[in-house]
Symmetry: C2
Subunit: 195 residues, 2 copies
């Protein structure tokens, strides 16, 4: 199983155009766009997709059952107590989950050597659940993830599980920001790598 | 980067002896030992470590900060409301977290082909965060994980965040059992694979 270098390069070019577009329309915040550009600069790597970390509110029986879930709120920045209370008090169909996720990146590399370099860099930066998730003709695909995150059920039907007067919201925000820290560390580590 | 087959085989033998010991002393429950034996049967794979999924109570500022965390309770089976209340009411130093994790397996393979086969099988079984986490002379190391899990802060200092009269405990147990289901599916998928 060898990566088809020409196919890979064509994909990198297309993804680079899309990245520049995303930056141009303001779709990406600076924190992550700097990191993505740093990865694109490397000869044997490009990013496929990324999330800098977010807080979502999901109406679902179980939050990983995507097909039967409804995301009712999504934010890549800290949430306010008002936002939390607003969604806590809205009627739902099943259960209301608040999920804070750390950063996730999907990267394609042209070589196994580059895949190993980036996995090691991710581990140093605290993204410890990073690895190769598929080996394809058009690239070796990596998923970089940290162990940072919260998954809360806050309501079932109209029965509220949590006390909204507590530090819950600030803990959610604290977790979100810890995730963003890892992203900054990843950028530092990758910038210092030999190409 | 090639796996040293002799070194790998030696490690497989040692890990197999340890597995038999663990089964003999009753350290492993049947659900997971059947799966592990099935993986060992394969010519190019063996398991390094495994967890069938568990519920833990952790006293920590952030639960992934292992060095400054104290695990005060751990169970691989469903918990009771009495257990939950007992630990909810014990004094803690920082914050009390209840964490339900799905199954995690670490596997070593002798070839990239076998790594790819097992990653595909894991994905089919619903362990979607599975990948190669390192390429070493003594084996290609895979981590198989699902997206199943909960991470709750239930108390900070002596301030309780959750209403213990709700379905919280049964939802924790439901999540735990969903994780164990994935393990059963993984065993089925692997048993049906061509070697």
């Amino acid at each position: 199983m060898k990566v088809d270098r020409a196919l890979w390069a064509k994909k990198k070019e297309a993804m680079f155009r899309r990245l520049l577009e995303d930056i141009h329309i303001g779709y990406l915040d600076e924190d992550i766009s700097d990191l993505l550009l740093e990865i694109f600069k490397r000869e044997d790597a490009f990013t496929i997709s990324s999330c800098s970390g977010r807080i979502i509110f999901v109406d679902a029986q179980m939050p990983w059952m995507r097909k039967t879930s409804t995301v009712i709120f999504k934010k890549h920045k800290p949430i306010t107590s008002e936002e939390f209370l607003e969604f806590l008090n809205k009627p739902i169909l099943s259960r209301l989950w608040v999920i804070v996720t750390g950063p996730i990146l999907h990267i394609s590399t042209a070589t196994l050597k580059e895949a190993r370099t980036l996995i090691s860099a991710s581990r140093v930066a605290g993204l410890k659940h990073s690895g190769v998730i598929s080996f394809r003709k058009d690239g070796i695909v990596l998923e970089l993830r940290s162990g940072i995150g919260l998954t809360y059920v806050v309501k079932a039907g109209d029965r509220i599980f949590v006390d909204p007067t507590t530090d819950l919201v600030s803990i959610c925000n604290e977790v979100l920001m810890k995730g963003k820290d890892r992203l900054r560390r990843l950028k530092e580590v990758i910038t210092k790598l030999e190409s």
